[in-house]
């Protein structure tokens, strides 16, 4: 495997007001791998993702230091932050259907990026909805409101939207908490396909999901990396840190 660095994080610190939540972590993510991120609540998993696409700056009291490089470029020094964000697809834990039609939900990002060609948009919308395993359920009612879909469908719509700007990196933040197991498996199959040309960060509470999909997994706890290694190490008794072993095997805490 070619180990080209896609994302490089160096000594990242993040604080909300006086409270530091990420305490200087460093790691890298290679091109076209799935990196699993596991860890209990409050371990700053979501904050980490928001640092990478810089939406953290919408939180008034957040302060970040250290560097994050995407494709060798410091995210805090990029000229066009909107281009950076389009390079990264982001799926939040709770489904968010925008109050627009299903079609417009998916076409939103390409439109804001300036794509106006109807045929192109149609093709893209269909492709994204198929990838997120939603197409068959909504193809006859693309004009109805995205917010009126069921929770699971909205989550797949969110995934479709994250794919709609054809990102190179996909950040999934506990994408499966609102979806039934069957659909989850279908999306996991999709992720396995995407792996060939996309770098994926998979934040998950389901330890087994990380084990199934990721090549390497990071155990994050209280804003520190306890362990980051290949799955064969993390999910076995070869794990270097006792806490990793305990967490993975459900005897943590």
């Amino acid at each position: 495997m070619m180990l080209e660095k896609k994302i490089e994080v160096r000594d990242l610190r993040l604080s909300y007001g006086p409270k530091e939540v990420i305490h200087g972590i460093s790691f890298e993510i290679y091109r076209n791998e799935i990196l699993g991120v596991i860890g209990p609540a409050q371990s700053a998993k979501t904050s980490l993702l928001r640092c990478i696409n810089r939406t953290i700056e919408f939180t008034a009291n957040a302060r970040m230091s250290g560097t994050i490089k995407v494709d060798g470029e410091d995210v805090n020094k990029v000229k066009n932050v909107y281009e950076l964000r389009r390079k990264i697809g982001m799926v939040a834990p709770l489904p968010v259907g925008l109050p627009l039609s299903i079609y417009e939900n998916v076409a939103f990002a390409p439109r804001t990026a300036g794509m106006g060609n109807k045929a192109e948009l149609d093709a893209l919308v269909e492709k994204c909805l198929r990838q997120s395993a939603l197409w068959d359920e909504v193809k006859d009612r693309l004009d109805s409101l995205g917010t009126k879909l069921s929770g699971g469908q909205q989550q797949r719509l969110t995934i479709a939207r994250a794919l709609s700007h054809q990102p190179e990196i996909l950040c999934l933040d506990e994408f499966s908490i609102a979806i039934d197991p069957v659909t989850t498996m279908r999306i996991e199959d999709v992720l396995k396909e995407l792996r060939s040309h996309m770098t994926i960060i998979l934040v998950t509470n389901l330890v087994q999901q990380a084990r199934r999909l990721a090549r390497r997994t990071m155990f994050l706890w209280n804003g520190e990396i306890i362990e980051l290694d290949d799955n064969e190490v993390i999910f076995s008794d070869k794990a270097k840190d006792k806490r990793t072993y305990e967490y993975v095997n459900g005897i943590f805490g």
């Binding site: 696409n53 939406t55 919408f58 008034a60 909107y82 281009e83 950076l84 964000r85 389009r86 697809g89 982001m90 939040a92 709770l94 968010v96 259907g97 925008l98 109050p99 627009l100 939103f108 990002a109 804001t112 990026a113 409101l145 917010t147 969110t158 939207r161 994250a162 709609s164 700007h165």
Partner: protein
């Protein structure tokens, strides 16, 4: 089937304590109900009395003829049209400024000293007595800006006075759009403005419209701010001509006309007074009803 024996100690018995509690319940309920009824009484009485007294004069002619014989007889045309002019002009001035300011405050401003100062200004502006506002209007628009006493000066004064209403309602309706929508837009690389235009504003239009309606309501009922800045005691205009006033003309206004004929002019026919009051009240109630209809309609097509 087996029968279950009921423990006799659990069986319901009406003790003195229970009876007392029930009595209190009933008494409290009755008191609350009476208070609710009490709220209705003034409105119903005012309406009934006004219409009873004004019934002889209310007609299309009353609305469309100028006051006659030193305002002791005739209609209210010039006052009615004047009020419409003032209200529309003040909305045109306060609407855009208020909405844009509210969008800035809610969507762009960081929580810093500037935002707090503007907030404080809005709150205090809402608390300024209307007579003080009138003096401000006289000083700022009529004299300093040199507009002179006119519809323009009066409606600008009204606009300043009603700005807080629009800013507050607009901000509330913007804040009612869930944060998650904005984050979803930012995540796919939309700018703040694209987010506001495509998602935030379309979903807060109903709230903004309600704010406009309340502004109109407030502006229509005020007397003091227009008294020094553009409203006149008496003015006859072309009857039935909707464009009888110009922006730099002075005008009559309903609320002030009512004040004049009830306190300043001796010998006004009572039904003229009651008729004017009834028209003012019904106008305001219609505007209010429009706000309610709008809100019900918008709620019926709520998108999430």
């Amino acid at each position: 089937m087996s029968t279950v024996a009921i423990n006799p100690s659990l069986r319901f018995t009406e003790t003195a304590a229970v009876r007392r509690r029930n009595r209190t319940q009933l008494a409290v309920k009755i008191v609350f109900f009476l208070m609710a009824v009490l709220m209705l009484i003034p409105l119903v009485t005012i309406l009934a009395y006004l219409f009873y007294k004004a019934s002889g004069i209310l007609s299309w002619e009353f609305l469309t003829t100028n006051p006659r014989r030193g305002m002791r007889e005739g209609g209210i045309w010039s006052a009615l049209l004047g009020t419409i002019y003032l209200v529309v002009a003040s909305l045109c001035a306060a609407g855009p400024v208020g909405v844009l300011a509210a969008v800035y405050m809610n969507e762009y401003a960081k929580d810093n000293w500037f935002k707090r100062v503007v907030n404080l200004a809005v709150i205090n502006l809402a608390g300024v007595p209307s007579i003080v506002m009138a003096l401000f209007g006289l000083g700022a628009f009529v004299l300093f800006a040199g507009i002179g006493k006119s519809i323009l000066a009066a409606s600008l004064t009204l606009a300043v006075m009603t700005l807080p209403v629009i800013i507050t309602t607009t901000r509330e309706s913007l804040a009612a759009v869930p944060m998650a929508f904005r984050e979803a837009c930012w995540n796919v690389g939309a700018t703040r403005w694209q987010t506001i235009r495509r998602v935030v504003l379309p979903n807060s239009v109903s709230g903004i419209m309600t704010g406009f309606i309340f502004e109109v309501l407030r502006a229509a009922g005020e007397t003091a701010p227009i008294m020094f800045t553009g409203a006149v005691f008496y003015k006859a205009i072309e009857e039935g001509d909707l464009f009888a006033y110009g922006l730099f003309d002075q005008c009559m206004a309903l609320a002030m006309h009512l004040f004049t004929i009830s306190t300043q002019v001796p010998g006004v026919k009572p039904e003229v007074q009651y008729g004017t009051a009834a028209v003012l009240l019904v106008t305001c109630m219609c505007i209010n009803a429009a706000a309610i209809v709008l809100r019900v309609y918008m709620r019926s097509r709520k998108k999430w």
